[in-house]
Symmetry: C2
Subunit: 372 residues, 2 copies
């Protein structure tokens, strides 16, 4: 064998090894659990983490004030991880509260510490408050993507032009060794919904831009060409269509005192239409409005809040901080093997003594007539 | 000189010649008139052309019925061209009425004939009825781009993925030989607003998709890097934001009997937000609703209808068919040369004996405080 051939063979072997390491790395490739046929996501919205023990809680009962700090947020995450053992933890923005943060890197490290030490994969999008310290949104995401066990990405590989930081997708493959073991049967999308409008004529919050929608639409189309998998989307700021419901048409509550009680951008940037057009996303999960925790269904898509999680975030004294869990379950075939996703359900847990489960509901079923 | 050098020189010379021919070709490069410092656009909305003399008029007075056909539409265009001598004619869709068309190529040839024979550059976007005969939207645009004197394009050069057919932009350069003679000082955008929704969950008309908005936003940004020129956008189906006005806030009328009287898509695809974000487009011109002919201003952008032009289109007996004219005027500097666009005005003409001018109004001025 000539020297050049040897170099080529060594190169091919190294490359194969690299692929094989990635494919077998449980952290890198999300997949359904082969015992239960489930994939579980824990959503943590609006931690508003600042400086740990020194940072006091907002809107808690008088008896809680003295001993309440960011550490209560940390302890709540740890308990949720312990109780749920999720396959993925998603932080949907306002992870740190920039204004009160002395050192944003230290705040992020502390905020995400329970996820890092759990060895569970975790993913982040940014809110509107994260960059209000000394780090830009790009700087924040660059730090996050370098942390242990995170699947967060700065932006999608191979896309030259995209607004924001932290737009990416993750594939959840079927159970190991199964026929769907090497393809996505649950598509997860993460988008940067921005912070504030930079257009002088438009006041208020940011929105998901055409570049991001185009990337989403193209990605969804490519994934659906391979497999008709359902999808879930996570970002921070609610879409204007979150205002389409009332108490008769949602599960949960809408306690935000604002008028309107939905703090979306002041303009409609069309992402809901793009989601409906793409067809795979069955539910959207945001944070931002800490006192709204509902899910409402519009044109086949569930629009869900998680409710506020963090103790340094505004809240309502006596109204528990909370977290949303999503579980996608596979169909069990007659031969005992796992099929496609059969249904997706969600519930919330309150930060009380029992981590009480509330508002358990099915968001989507593969067969529309499936009964519960 | 070596052979290779000679080939290179010949190549460079040929290339320069090619550029020079294109630049001096009045048909290919739109530019402001150097005598008046003006650029005038005639908009023809909803001709609904079918088979010429054999195709009867709709919604005309009883005394007009016997001698009224598509030829009345042709005659109206001819008179408008004669009266206005525009620098560009824009046909904003439903140019032919596919359902009643025996031969779509013959219908298009007849519909656009007055523009072709005028030697004036003309541009086309499609409506929702054009493809209702035997030619697809792609087929229609492919025929159109091959016709004489048209500046219509199938889709933008170098863009791999874009929804629809007939998305393109045209630059209007400054007067010949002036400092702005080789750059766009008025940006024109043409978009395919589609026909009908192809998404089962969304009924009704089509909309401008993320791929098109991304192209528009990128094109606008590139143009504005070179020059802060105002822009105008032409397409067929009104945006949902056309519903933002009442008679106290628009100029013209809203006589459509529908509820709502604005037949936009049933969803908001965000193009208005994208337009506001881009910043250069000062006015949008659509057709589609033949009995609406107003302009209303929202967040710095005028949303204008042209009013129905064609006699085989539905209309209102006794309410004249009409056409919209837009005139962009350059600032005259103290040394007598022309500067940037100083103001953009519009008016309509009715198809009566005098081609009566109505609703003359200023849409945009370079200096916001400029008085009229």
């Amino acid at each position: 064998m000539g020297r050049l051939s040897m170099i080529i063979v060594v190169f091919i072997c190294s490359f194969s090894l690299l692929i094989s390491v990635n494919a077998s790395d449980g952290i890198r490739q999300l997949r359904f659990d082969k015992n239960k046929g489930e994939f579980k996501i824990l959503q943590v919205a609006d931690m508003h983490y600042a400086n740990g023990k020194k940072t006091k809680c907002r809107d808690v009962l008088p008896k809680q004030v003295a001993h309440c700090s960011d550490l209560n947020t940390t302890y709540f995450i740890e308990r949720m991880i312990q109780a749920e053992k999720p396959d993925l933890i998603v932080f949907t923005g306002d992870n740190i509260y920039g204004t009160d943060t002395t050192d944003p890197v230290a705040s992020m490290n502390a905020a995400f510490a329970p996820a890092v030490s759990s060895n569970i994969p975790w993913a982040v999008v940014l809110g509107n408050h994260d960059q209000e310290s000394t780090l830009s949104r790009e700087g924040l995401m660059k730090h996050i993507v370098g942390m242990n066990h995170t699947l967060s990405q700065l932006n999608p590989f191979g896309v030259d032009v995209i607004d924001g930081f932290g737009n990416y997708n993750l594939e959840v493959h079927g159970t190991e060794g199964s026929s769907s073991g090497n393809k996505s049967i649950l598509n997860l999308y993460f988008l940067d919904s921005g912070d504030y409008s930079t257009v002088p004529a438009i006041p208020g919050y940011g929105w998901i831009k055409p570049s991001q929608q185009f990337w989403f639409q193209q990605t969804s189309m490519k994934l659906q060409r391979k497999s008709k998998a359902p999808g879930l989307a996570y970002f921070h700021i609610p879409l204007p269509e979150y205002s389409s419901f009332d108490s008769s048409s949602y599960t949960g509550v809408e306690l935000e005192p604002g008028n309107p009680p939905i703090s979306s951008a002041s303009v409609n940037s069309g992402f809901f239409t793009t989601l409906v057009g793409a067809g795979d996303v069955k539910a959207v999960f945001v944070g931002h409005d800490h006192l709204n925790d509902f899910c409402g269904e519009l044109t086949g898509i569930n629009l869900c809040y998680a409710g506020g999680f963090g103790y340094h975030a505004y809240g309502k004294a006596g109204w528990s901080r909370r977290s949303r869990v999503v579980v996608a379950s596979l169909e069990k075939k007659s031969n005992g093997s796992w099929g496609a996703v059969e249904f997706i359900k969600t519930y919330k847990r309150l930060d009380d003594g029992n981590l009480t489960v509330i508002d358990d509901q099915v968001l989507w079923t593969k067969t529309p007539s499936m009964k519960w």
